[in-house]
């Protein structure tokens, strides 16, 4: 199974369009740019939501309506980040699989996504003007910590 996966990844990494993207002068900067623009919009949407959750910004919005406004943009941004990330990974799978920051990043990413879609959905009953409780502050803090840890781990791939 693992062997089949390894040879599949190797085959994908040698495919002509991936090699072209990886080795051309504009391929990696373009992918990284898409990754960063997506990150900026995704984490900004998460910031807006979490700042609202703790009552520090956008307090005249109810959580459900804010979630509705942010959803198409965060889903679009997440698509940009994930798609560009997958292409970068497939261009050089051995490098990423051997990188501890990368493995750490993927682990935290799973928790970040779970906390975002699981816990925040339950909080979506909070009305406009409602004051945050201890639970809201904890969830917002956890969500921001997880997402920004993903970002920092991503940066560390290049340095470690």
């Amino acid at each position: 199974m693992m062997l089949a996966l390894a040879s599949f990844l190797d085959w994908v990494a040698k495919s002509r369009w991936l090699v072209y993207i990886r080795d051309s002068s504009f391929g990696m900067p373009a992918l990284q740019s898409v990754h960063l623009v997506g990150l900026t919009i995704l984490l900004a949407a998460i910031l807006v939501l979490n700042l609202r959750l703790v009552g520090l910004s956008m307090v005249d919005w109810s959580i459900p309506s804010l979630v509705r406004q942010l959803k198409p943009w965060s889903v679009g941004a997440l698509t940009m980040v994930v798609a560009s990330g997958i292409i970068m990974f497939l261009g050089n799978p051995e490098k990423y699989l051997a990188s501890y920051p990368f493995l750490f990043k993927m682990t935290v990413l799973v928790f970040a996504i779970l906390s975002q879609f699981g816990v925040l959905r339950r909080l979506s009953t909070m009305e406009a003007g409602a004051t945050p409780g201890r639970r809201e502050i904890f969830v917002a803090g956890l969500s921001l910590t997880l997402w920004f840890t993903v970002g920092w781990a991503g940066r560390a791939i290049a340095f470690v």
């Binding site: 002068s25 990696m28 900067p29 990284q32 740019s33 960063l36 623009v37 990150l39 900026t40 919009i41 995704l42 984490l43 900004a44 949407a45 998460i46 910031l47 807006v48 700042l51 520090l56 910004s57 956008m58 307090v59 005249d60 919005w61 309506s65 406004q69 942010l70 198409p72 943009w73 920004f148 970002g151 920092w152 940066r155 560390a156 340095f159």
Partner: protein, 163 residues
């Protein structure tokens, strides 16, 4: 002193050499610069979407601007501090880099755009909140900000590939 001479002098200041010689200072400053993107540019982009009528349509524009700009100021102070430090350590190379030059021109454009918005549209935001219609000029400012900020990110990321 020429501009290039100033850049080279900057690169050899004690602060710049300390950053270049440290193993962890440069990655830390660069990481902070990138991780401040959502808090600075990201929040401004959220407000641009509001100006363009692409999100947050039902609330007050004036109120949202207050909410968003207050936090983005924190983000931009981190951005300019870390950006200044990163520039110092590689000022000579940055000087010759086309993408860095484009980034500076874009930032200048964004500064002018923000001043124009503040002078012309900001004082009358309460009026258009009442009518629910964003003036065309304000929407143009929002569109410009959105597109040029994305340009800044692209130039910032790409310039590092030429160092």
């Amino acid at each position: 002193m020429s501009l290039l001479g100033w850049c080279q002098w900057l690169e050899h200041t004690p602060l710049a050499t300390a950053i270049s010689e440290s193993d962890w200072l440069f990655p830390l400053i660069e990481g902070t610069h990138i991780m401040a993107l959502p808090l600075s540019v990201g929040l401004i982009v959220m407000f641009d979407l509001r100006l363009l009528g692409l999100a947050f349509r039902s609330g007050s524009t004036a109120k949202m601007m207050g909410d968003v700009v207050r936090w983005s100021k924190l983000g931009f102070s981190v951005m300019f501090t870390t950006g200044g430090l990163l520039f110092m350590t590689q000022a000579g190379k940055a000087y010759a880099n086309g993408f860095f030059r484009a980034k500076l021109i874009f930032l200048l454009m964004l500064g002018i755009n923000a001043v124009v918005y503040h002078a012309i549209f900001y004082p009358r935001m309460a009026e258009w909140d009442a009518t629910g219609r964003t003036p065309l000029g304000a929407r143009v400012c929002g569109a410009l900000s959105l597109v040029v900020w994305i340009g800044v990110i692209i130039c910032g990321r790409t310039m590092a590939y030429q160092f």
